[in-house]
Amino acid sequence: MTKGWGVALRRSAIPVLGLGALCMSVLSVPDLEHVGMGVGSYTTTWKVGSCHRLDRLEETDPVYASDTSPAVPCTSPHQSETYADVPITGAVARQAERPSPLWLETALRGACDWGAMAGFLGDEPPDITRDIVVLQIVPSVPEWRAGVRRVRCDALIGPRTTESVATISRSLRGIVRTPAAARFRVCRLGFTQLACDGLHTAELVYPYVKFTDAELARGHAYKLAKVRRACVGLVAAYLGAPLAGRADLALQPELPGDYPNLDSRVGHCWVGSKNGLPTTGSVRRAGSGGAA
């Protein structure tokens, strides 16, 4: 009898242990319905002005097209903020199952208007920004099956590298009109472009100075004169006062084809300190971008 029990125990040990391990593993997954998936309700926050913590590269990868993480207060660390919510239309909207991410990306290209984001950020000519891009968020699979066809348009801050994404702890609404915008303005140190909150020697003013083919064929003197002439008004608008009134600043015109933009067909208005010494912050008119 004892021997029989011993044999039975020995024979059943492995299957019982295996089954036990399997059950423990399955029970350790909080939501059986979504085994192998992330947690939460699979419901997107569509509210304009909501902020989202997406601090892992995957969460802002175009392939990971939905975001059902709960919104966070805009005063806490986050990466994106919703500025609009637009409907999905056309052939892609008629698909019963959510199409592949690349098809969606192609079909929804431009669905979120850059101009609308600029308005949300308070960005208007002659402002030019960097490190803020549009992130399009589509419904989760359960939402798509339930008939939700809308795109959440987020302003995603950068720089986003292959290692990390950037973080901010304030709302992006109207940020270009505040001193905090320096980190999103375009500056350069030598020939390297960077954000204006870092050491730099010149700051870029928008828009660019356009040239026709005939003008591009003309000489250096003509191009320089044209860029200088165009930049006077642009820089004055940017600074909130004529450049001549700022003894500390000077125009640094960049002509079409100048190094490092050898293929460029436009001129650029750069403005920097007259003594050529590096500085930090922005020269944008106070109240529209923050002084240095």
Binding site: G38, S66, S69
Partner: protein, 538 residues
């Protein structure tokens, strides 16, 4: 030894009783114990060798090419960010921190469908060990090392136990298997966030499990269940392992189940009734195996069906645009043969995320609607002259043995970025050396193993069932390896081929030791005929 027992094993020296004799005697007893327990000692030795090759001189493993996320996110962890400026994928990044992934941020490529793999369980255990040992982070991939070392120890030891023939030959063959398992082409996967290790261990364990199943003329239901469970584990690690069924199903059905076999077949009577009874007996004697096969095949089909559509899309894209069209001299004609619009020609040779990807073209939805792996297979049936090119790319990938874009060392090791370890480079070196003769060496090895295995398996009157089992395993591994090779080449093509062909490579590496076991098995003499054998009984 006797003196030790007599004196109690202690020696008086300068007033201190030192157990010198006892220790020395114990040490002297070790070789004898090892000889008496070859399975345990060989298994333990290979477990220790695995640990040593993974950790002595600094931990080695495989860098994550972002594929790890779909599996690791299920454990609620995220990789610790690499320092700015460190080249991507250049080093092993073993430390993961706790992180809450919401919704589809944890799914196969963001598709809203899970990525399922049995590798989840070793990773879960590694997470537990990380916590128990108080290591930094929520999960340290290095904890996978002891887990797979233990698995290898069990597999090698169990193989020694199940192999027929002289013990030295069994130990030699099992050591060959152990050597393949710790080779630099294979071992770095053990410490990685990929699903390959579960399949590699499953393959290793299937060898002794199958030997055990086939050690009798009439198989036992529990051995059938064991092989089926291990096959399910192996296939469940990675979808490409479905090709294993080509070997496992025939093996499970090969021999009758002991309990039914004699009851149905040991009957006399008229010839027609006999024949009918024999057929029914054959079926009845295979009921457990048939049930196991049905579960395995059905389960595999379900598993394949539940794979992420996005992953299938990537694989199909690579198959069509990188492999078929990327190596085509008549892109337009091939597109027509595949039933696709010719304006996709500009994407020939591209990857799905390349600037010239077909995914950016208006006809891409049509590709998704119309194309299938069946179509690609039909294309190759209609264009068989394209197959040698496919095979050549696969053989070249096997000869390369492992991906060059994934580093094996820790960033703190001082190794160069993307450096690949070569601590046990036996098979790697042999494959690399055979590269110019890859068309001769690799297919010849497959063919020799398959025919030799079949020949041994067919020697029913000359060798005992246990020895024939070695032949079946040899032929089975050869068949599964060839099936694996073609499964990969006809589905994923030459995209990341060195990594995708790791199972074909491992299967090929196992053939050498199994051939040694087969030669040793040939030496076995069949015991006197035990009575009526179902298949041959009059």
């Amino acid at each position: 030894m006797n003196r030790l027992l007599a004196t109690g094993g202690r020696e008086e020296s300068f007033g201190v009783r030192v157990p010198v004799d006892q220790t020395a005697a114990a040490l002297r007893a070790v070789p004898a114990w090892m000889r008496a327990h070859p399975a345990i000692s060989t298994g333990t030795a290979w477990g220790l060798i695995t640990l040593a090759r993974l950790f002595v001189g600094g931990a080695v493993g495989m860098a994550d090419n972002f594929d790890g996320h779909r599996l690791l996110c299920q454990l609620g962890v995220a990789p610790r960010p690499i320092p700015a400026g460190q080249p991507l994928w250049a080093y092993l990044t073993p430390t993961y921190d706790a992180y809450t992934w919401y919704g589809e941020a944890c799914s196969a490529g963001g598709t809203g469908q899970p990525y399922l793999s049995t590798e989840y369980f070793p990773l879960l255990l590694a997470k537990l060990l990380t916590r128990l040992l108080g290591l930094s982070g929520a999960l340290d991939l290095r904890m996978l090392g002891p887990i797979f070392a233990a698995g290898i120890a069990v597999a090698v030891g169990w193989t020694v136990r199940e192999l027929p023939g002289p013990r030295w030959a069994a130990v030699l063959a099992a050591c060959g298997i152990g050597l393949a398992a710790v080779d630099s082409a294979i071992a770095p996967y053990y410490v990685s966030p990929f699903s390959e290790p579960a399949a590699l261990l499953g393959l290793l364990l299937l060898i002794p499990a199958t030997l055990r199943l086939l050690s009798r003329e009439r198989v036992r239901a529990r051995d059938i269940a064991l092989v089926a469970v291990l096959a399910a584990w192996t296939i469940g690690a990675k979808t490409q392992m479905a090709s294993l069924l080509i070997a496992v199903v025939p093996i499970l059905l090969l021999r009758p189940w002991g309990r039914v076999a004699s009851a149905w077949t040991d009957r006399g009577g008229r010839r027609a009734v006999d024949r009918l009874m024999r057929v029914m007996g054959t079926v009845a004697a295979r009921l457990p195996a048939l049930a196991a096969c049905a579960v395995l095949v059905g389960g595999t089909a379900l598993f394949e069906q539940h794979q992420s559509r996005w992953l299938n899309e990537i694989v199909l894209y690579d198959d069509v645009f990188r492999d078929v069209l990327g190596h085509s001299s008549h892109v337009h004609g091939d597109l027509r043969a595949l039933g696709l619009p010719t304006d996709l020609a500009s994407a020939a040779g591209s990857s799905i995320v390349a600037p010239n990807s077909a995914a950016k073209l208006p006809d891409y939805p049509r590709f998704l609607r119309q194309e299938s792996f069946g179509n690609v297979l039909a294309f190759y049936v209609a264009h068989p002259w394209r197959l040698p090119g496919v095979a050549d790319r696969g053989l070249a990938g096997m000869a390369a043995t492992r991906p060059s874009y994934l580093g094996n060392y820790l960033a703190s090791s001082g190794a160069a970025p993307y450096a690949r370890e070569c601590r046990v480079c036996v098979a790697s070196a042999m494959f690399t050396l055979s590269q110019p003769l890859r068309w001769v060496v690799i297919p010849s090895l497959w063919a020799a193993a398959f025919t030799g295995g079949l020949w041994l398996a067919g020697k029913r009157r000359a060798v005992p069932p246990r020895a024939r089992g070695v032949g079946v395993v040899l032929a089975g591994i050869a068949a599964a390896t060839v099936a694996q090779f073609w499964t990969v080449m006809l589905s994923e093509g030459d995209s990341d081929v060195e990594k995708h062909l790791v199972f074909a490579l491992f299967g090929t590496m196992l053939l050498g030791p199994l051939m040694v076991a087969a030669v040793a098995a040939l030496d076995q003499k069949r015991a006197p005929w035990p009575g009526s054998i179902p298949e041959s009984a009059p």
